[in-house]
């Protein structure tokens, strides 16, 4: 079972890789920084892509994109949700 800190690091790396954020390093993303709007500045297409990431990497299905946005508020909420719901 992965430690939370390690999972956070992994998730940051996955986000960077998945969304092709070539100019961002994992240490640039703070855990409580908003992923959307201000902060990392992701948009609606990114939110869909991250829902796919959650499915492919962690076996988590999110049916409602609006619910997805809440889960994807920041790294903390995202990792918290993964820990509670991952099937992979």
């Amino acid at each position: 079972m992965m430690e939370t800190a390690e999972l956070k690091q992994q998730v940051k790396e996955q986000i960077i890789h998945f969304l092709n954020l070539t100019t961002v390093k994992p240490e640039d993303i703070t855990d409580d920084e908003p992923l959307f709007g201000e902060g990392l500045g992701l948009d609606s297409i990114d939110s869909i892509e991250l829902i796919v990431l959650l499915s492919r990497e962690y076996g988590i299905t999110i049916q409602d994109p609006k619910e997805g946005r809440k889960i994807l508020t920041d790294i903390n909420t995202m990792v918290d949700y993964i820990e509670k719901n991952r099937t992979k």
Partner: protein
Amino acid sequence: MSRIFITGMGLISAIGDSVEENRDSLINEHCGIGHIRFYKTAYAGKLPTAEVKHTTDELNKKLFGTPDPSVTRTSLLALHAAGEAIRDSQLASKEISSAETALVGASTVGGMCLTDELYHDARARDGGTPYLSSYDYASVTLAIRERYGILGETATINTACSSSANAIIYGARLIRHGFAKRAIVGGADSLAKFTINGFNALNILSSKICAPFDRDRSGLNLGEGAAFLVLEKEEDLNGKKTYAELTGFGNKNDAYHASSNSPEGQGPYLSMMEALESSGLGPQDISYINAHGTGTENNDETESRAMLRLFDQVPPFSSTKSLTGHTLGAAGAMEAVFAIQSLVYQEMYPSLSFQHPIPETGLVPVLHYTRHFIRHVMSNSFGFGGNCSTLIFSKS
């Protein structure tokens, strides 16, 4: 500046194989949206679509007798509709093939309806399918060009969902500038895994039959089809029958996001305004609007806002996509034909599946077939990439 008239129309969609059959379905509220019967996709049975009710083989045999194996379904639909339009225009064959006849097509799928074949050819070492030269968008226009031997200006436009509206505009301008005497303009698209999966990945396909402008709408249904029109200028009519005059058009960009409109519907607002300005008409002169009305959350609300901004009193409007589905590259031309029919017969077509208005805008579309006095009709097509086009047709 030459006045442009429509002298021929052709159409094939999920609700009919001809202009007449389509009108019949519109009047009788025959919705063409249902389960996929012919196209092979994992979504058959899951996502409602508006498929043309013929297999590709049937379409092929009808056009070619002996089927031509290299012609894609998109091209077959285009050939079918262009053929009807050309016959309807009563142009002599040497007029059609002349260097003074322009041909402007549009498609967003092209031959990529053959998704599996494309996947195969992209990797094949040698051999390949008969479709090697048929995947691009131009292949659809070129299929028409070849069949009729057209020697004039030939173009293909792809601006997503507004493509064939832009094809109509481009054709009209070619005539006005003297680069063509007449123009055959329109577009075609067929179902493709490419667009089914693409739109589905964006979460804008509905698992239910689409409900444009409804409070509880949940997305669009893809459709397929083709529509072509023949444009001629006033000086060349010589008493020929005309369906309508193209009195105004506009193309503006929303410039907000690649796949959604700005909240205030700036692009749609500006394109409608430009079309009005180009026609010399005011908002109060529009009797009826064939809306873009896809049934997505974003489009219907932003389109509504744009209409509310532009019109003191929003004219009656409907979305025929509630019967034909969203035919992408064919939509602009298809809905232009419907708009023209409404002018010719002085009627409005229903917007199906509507129950409650969008609370933020309160607009209610035309719900049933209605006879109506129409002098000027507007048709809207708003595509990805913020590409917004508006056409205005007037009684001729």
